[in-house]
Subunit: 321 residues, 2 copies
């Protein structure tokens, strides 16, 4: 393994947790810059020690506050923390387009906490993949806990769940109306729930509502709890950290952590394979044929399906040579 | 061409605009049911006559109201209308998970209007592709105008813009704060803006705000207008329809309509090719190797990148035989 994968990146400095090197490494991954693959390949053998916690929920639930409070708590336990604030930029929800950095309060000043916002306007799965790769960098750089928090809304909930070992879903009493609606999607991703802003009216009813929905669930070995918190006042944060730990122990003892991480690696390898094959697919010849056939389809001389079949055959022929 | 692509679908009934046949055809496409491709291939030569209008904007902007009012207006002009309410289901934003049908008022009772909700939890681009395919069905079935409206939020704005000839972005005075933030994303997709609920305070300032942002744009042949409307009272709807027509004429005269539709077909054919190649990629042998290598990557014996390279080589070998 070469220690230096590009003129700008010294792998050993990343592994030593150097902030500038780590930050630059994440930028390389985020921008798909040349050297990203070599960098990740070099770091990969040093990953697997950090625990990855996903924090997601609807807008306004207080995800950033919970994340910064959790980070602060982990610091009091002597653990180093990496925070990735993941933003599925939508033109309407703003997000990273606002130009705002995520505000995490005093943890930003702590040398033991590394905070980074990541945005993606790319393809689905792109966010999950880049979050995973950035988490790999923080993992290799020696962070004990990596908090992957969603900013904004969209399909990022699923992306976060795909990249995390434990996924925490943050709700507020006002979420009550839509909890039933959330059922299908949330039950798939939530390892446990935090009802934040629990000092507001309707908190107990909201907790009962979530528990009732959970009750309809097929009995499993792990039963997602519903915790209450007032993150802005620091209330309930220790309990959240304890529940993360309890879930981690459950995953480890049951072998589920191994299984989750293996499936994550399968997805990741499959994605790399598909990217590589897609790249081989489009060259000057196939692009030219694609343009010609689209022109013909526009005037009804060929269907998109027949044109696609022809291109697939071209690809097979090229690979046969 | 066979007139009957499956025991359930008579192509000629779809082409004749039979509601039940059209509805069933869209279901087949939506569910990727067998026969979907044959159906679409059969209908494709009959497409290209309908004009496709995308209607998008943030939650609460009144997209459904504008859509139904526009449909009603087009009916008074003797045109038939198809409405596709496209929903990017997110567990937090609810959408189709709420089980609600989109409510469009009295146009629902008009035999000249076909309304359909479509949801997608699949991959990005899946929604755009299915909306395009459903629009093809409505196009072949003889609808003059197809309104593609987003429900909910997420990445669907872009999907809608990809599927439409003209894209209308609906905002409200309250959107003002985030208009600047929307700049990057919206300028790419908006052919013109409608400031709905223009009887509310701040409407004129919001219009000015949008115009100012538009002013920073490089001068082009088409300058997106900012119209005011109060859709719930039917105000400004005729002007929206006229602006759609003006944009259509601009696109036709400049050759841009041809170009937009050709690029859309290129995307579509490329997507079909990539799907077909991906399908060939994963068989019992490659899946087995993927699982084995993921297991090894988990214990650090191989990197995901090396494993992916091996699988790509396996694929090349298979194609060579």
């Amino acid at each position: 393994m070469r220690a230096c994968v590009s003129p700008d990146i010294d792998l050993n400095r990343v592994l030593a947790g150097d902030r500038v090197a780590v930050s630059r490494a994440i930028s390389i991954v985020e921008n798909d810059a040349s050297g990203a693959r070599l960098l990740l390949e070099g770091l990969f053998p040093k990953t697997g020690r950090a625990y990855r916690v996903g924090i997601t929920g609807p807008p306004g639930a207080g995800k950033s506050t919970i994340t910064s409070r959790l980070a602060r708590y982990y610091r009091t336990q002597g653990k180093t923390v990496g925070i990735l604030a993941v933003d599925p930029t939508s033109p309407f929800t703003g997000g990273a387009l606002l130009g705002d950095r995520v505000r995490m309060g005093d943890v930003e000043l702590d040398a033991g906490v590394f905070i980074r916002s990541m945005a993606s306007r790319g393809s689905l799965g792109g966010l999950s993949r880049k979050a995973t790769e950035a988490a790999d960098i923080l993992d290799a750089a020696g962070k004990d806990i990596i908090l992957l928090a969603t900013v904004g809304v969209g399909q990022s909930e699923l992306d976060i769940a795909r990249a995390a070992d434990t996924t925490v879903v943050v709700l507020v009493p006002e979420s009550g109306d839509s909890i039933q609606a959330m059922k299908a999607g949330l039950m798939e991703i939530a390892d446990f729930f935090v009802l934040n802003k629990a000092d507001r009216a309707g908190a107990d009813q909201a907790v009962t509502g979530i528990q009732m929905i959970l009750g309809f669930r097929a009995a499993g070995a792990w039963n997602p709890a519903v915790l209450k918190a007032v993150a802005s006042a620091g209330e309930g944060i220790v309990e959240v950290a304890r529940e993360v730990e309890a879930h981690r122990q459950y995953l480890e003892k049951s072998g589920t952590l191994h299984q989750r991480r293996r499936l994550r690696l399968e997805d990741r390898i499959a994605g790399l394979v598909e990217d590589a094959v897609r790249e081989q697919l489009w060259n000057a010849e196939s692009r030219g044929l694609l343009q010609a056939r689209a022109e013909e389809a526009l005037v009804g001389r060929v269907t998109p399906y027949a044109a696609a079949g022809e291109l697939v055959n071209l690809f097979r022929r090229d690979h046969r040579s």
